[in-house]
Amino acid sequence: MSLLSIRNFSVSIENKEILHDLSMEVEADTLTVVMGKNGTGKSTLAYALMGHPAYKVPSGEAIFNGEPIVGMAADKIAKMGMFLGFQQPVEVPGVTVVKFLQTATRALNGGELNYDIFQEELLTVLEKLGIDQSFLYRYLNDGFSGGEKKRLEILQLLMLKPKLAILDEPDSGLDVDAMKVVAEGINMARKNGTAILLITHYKRLLNYLNPDRVIVLADGTLARDGGMELADKIESDGYDFLTSRIS
């Protein structure tokens, strides 16, 4: 049984259908890369899977860890072990990063929090990601630079240890060093046993990772399913090959 099984999945927002009849499987312990032009519906797929109330699923189903998740509230899906690293993380003024991490860890852990273990893990992760401890006392994403926000998403990924993480462009807007840190974080998450669905536009991040599979979305559905050669092709030729007859 696949970790996530998406079957004939359609998604509409404000009555406009964005994704059509999409089917795919994601296996445990794998890293799947999702590519596709701007506006094809990659983020839409992520939001819809995670139960965003504005994204409706008129037909099809999504089975996560053996349970149908369409129509479920986002926190229930999170508690089942799915995580979304946001393309644009949201700011929550007045809530410190550490308080937020504690609240989330507790929520995902049936209301329990072991402070000693939490603290130890947090310090380890901070060090691995090269994040300064003073970060913990800043307000969640409030006034963070683009790169800092992305690092914080990875920090959460490592602290919350989901079964499946959908990472929506964790590499956009990063400098080379930050890119390495994010890559390192993703590799660490995989060691934690987290399967990854990675949305990206560029090969750069993939060079530090070991993707098992690359899929390409076009016009709101699955257009190609293959390996790193797809990422290479997109990098050199762009997306034209999807429509050209000779490809």
Binding site: Y47, M50, G51, H52, P53, A54, A73, A74, D75, A78, K79, F83, L84, F86, P89, V90, E91, V92, P93, G94, V95, F100, T103, A104, A107, L108, Y139, L140, Q156, L160
Partner: protein, 466 residues
């Protein structure tokens, strides 16, 4: 995301009521005889009776306030209210009747006292039923009494300051309070004395159609320092109760008073309170004022900066749930040079709740180099809630530095979604957002109160998905 918070009434933790068993309950309605009866029962000096009677006259003449919620205040039927209800009380905790004791035990009083307070009074209906203070404070000459006892034991002190900060002519509800006041706290802190743990009062309305009119007066003598905390609750009845308190603070030269309130009345209480402080030379007055409950609150803690170098600080929070209107804010009058003030006002509205900020900053000609900083932030949930700001600035002195900043934000679905995505329920996510929004307020509260406020916020935010 749909707006499905429960109203506070369904969940109001303090909504239990006790059977009514009183020593005396005045008949409903107000006339001169009721005023005289209250005064006689308390064996008051003549001057107080006269004060009450002229206040009563003024109350009858005065129009309703033009501000706040006209619809609700004009619908008040003064003839249905019981203006005085005397419960059985005691001087030691053991003497307090069991049902009243149970009430305060449920509210965590005097448990709170045992924990960190320097003194506590508990008012049940019209009068204080329990009172205590640390012995070391009494030895230092600190006076902490209920107002009725203070009038007996310190008549000169009371007479000198009573009604001087808020005249009985101030507004209709202040006039009403001046006519029928009962209970409340009286504090006097001698020169140079610091009260290093807070003094607290707890107000509880139990009877139906009850009016509670407590009167609080705090005098901090030169270079003294005191922190006073009050909390209030009432059971939820279908008929409205009226709470019209008057609170006067006097901070003499170099003194500091901090007054913290967490008002958590049930949803049928009209909370129409006049709070004002006079701050003399280099004195500091801080109002920390949280309003969570009530059907309507109209309250604008004020500071009159009367002496050079005085500082006023007003920090208010209003949380308007479904069916609630919180009309609150702050007033500062700069009446002397080099006085400074800061107002931070935070409001939250949700469901069909309505939060209004009403502020008034004034400097008079000749009061040079005054600085005032005003900041109001409103946070709104859903699209039926309402938030308004009515700032009023009267700056008659050109050297004044005034800054005013206001923000309004609606909680975005994306904010809730982000937090829920990390496993928080909608309620937990909403509470976290609100707690973050209130951070500048809660960090000014003693730990126990900050925790209590966060708990109340969580309760208020409670609701279930689908």
């Amino acid at each position: 995301m749909k707006d499905n918070f429960t109203t506070i009434n369904e969940d109001y933790k303090y909504g239990f009521s006790n059977p009514e068993d009183y020593l005396y309950k005045a008949p409903a309605g107000l006339n001169e005889d009721v005023v005289r009866a209250i005064s006689a029962m308390k064996h008051e000096p003549e001057w107080m009776l006269e004060f009450r009677l002229k206040s009563y006259k003024k109350f009858m003449e005065m129009p309703m306030p033009w501000w706040g919620n006209q619809e609700i205040i004009n619908a008040i039927d003064f003839s249905k209210i019981h203006y005085f209800v005397k419960a059985k009380g005691g001087t030691t905790w053991d003497d307090v009747p069991t049902d009243i004791k149970d009430t305060f035990e449920k509210l965590g009083i005097p448990e709170a006292e045992r924990k960190f307070l320097g003194g506590v009074t508990a008012q049940y209906e019209s009068e204080v039923v329990y009172h205590s203070m640390k012995k070391e404070f009494a030895d230092q000459g600190i006076v902490f009494l209920d107002m009725d006892s203070a009038l007996k034991e310190y008549p000169e002190l009371v007479k000198r300051y009573f009604g001087t900060v808020i005249p009985f002519t101030d507004n209709k509800f202040a006039a009403l309070n001046s006519a029928v006041w009962s209970g409340g706290s009286f504090i006097y802190v001698p020169k140079g004395t610091r009260v290093d743990t807070p003094l607290q009062a707890y107000f509880r309305i139990n009877a139906k159609n009850m009016g509670q009119f407590e009167r609080t007066l705090i005098i901090a003598d030169e270079a003294s320092d005191v922190h006073y905390i009050e909390g209030c609750t009432a059971p939820s009845y279908s008929a409205d109760s009226l709470h019209a308190a008057v609170v006067e603070l006097v901070a003499l030269d170099g003194a500091k008073i901090r007054y913290s309130t967490i008002q958590n009345w049930s949803n049928n209480v009209l909370n129409l309170v006049t709070k004002r402080a006079a701050a003399y030379r280099n004195a500091v007055v801080e109002w920390v004022d949280g309003n969570i409950g009530s059907k309507l609150t109209m309250k604008y803690p004020a500071v009159l900066l009367k002496g050079e170098g005085a500082h006023g600080e007003i920090l208010t929070v209003a949380m308007a749930g479904n069916g609630q209107h919180q009309d609150s804010g702050a007033k500062v009058f700069h009446l002397a040079s080099n006085t400074t003030s800061r107002i931070i006002s935070k409001s939250i509205s949700k469901g069909k709740g309505r939060a209004s900020y009403r502020g008034w900053v004034k400097t008079i000609p000749g009061a040079e180099n005054c600085v005032s900083d005003v900041r109001c932030d409103a946070l709104m949930f859903g699209d039926e809630s309402r938030s308004d700001t009515y700032p009023r600035m009267e700056i008659y002195e050109p050297s004044t530095k005034l800054t005013h900043e206001a923000t309004v934000s609606r909680v975005q679905d994306d904010q809730l979604f982000y937090l829920m995505n990390r496993g928080l329920s909608e309620t937990e996510a909403s509470s976290l957002i609100v707690n973050g929004f209130l951070e500048p307020f809660t960090k000014e509260l003693p730990m126990e109160y900050a925790v209590e406020l966060n708990r109340l916020v969580a309760l208020e935010m409670d609701g279930s998905i689908g």
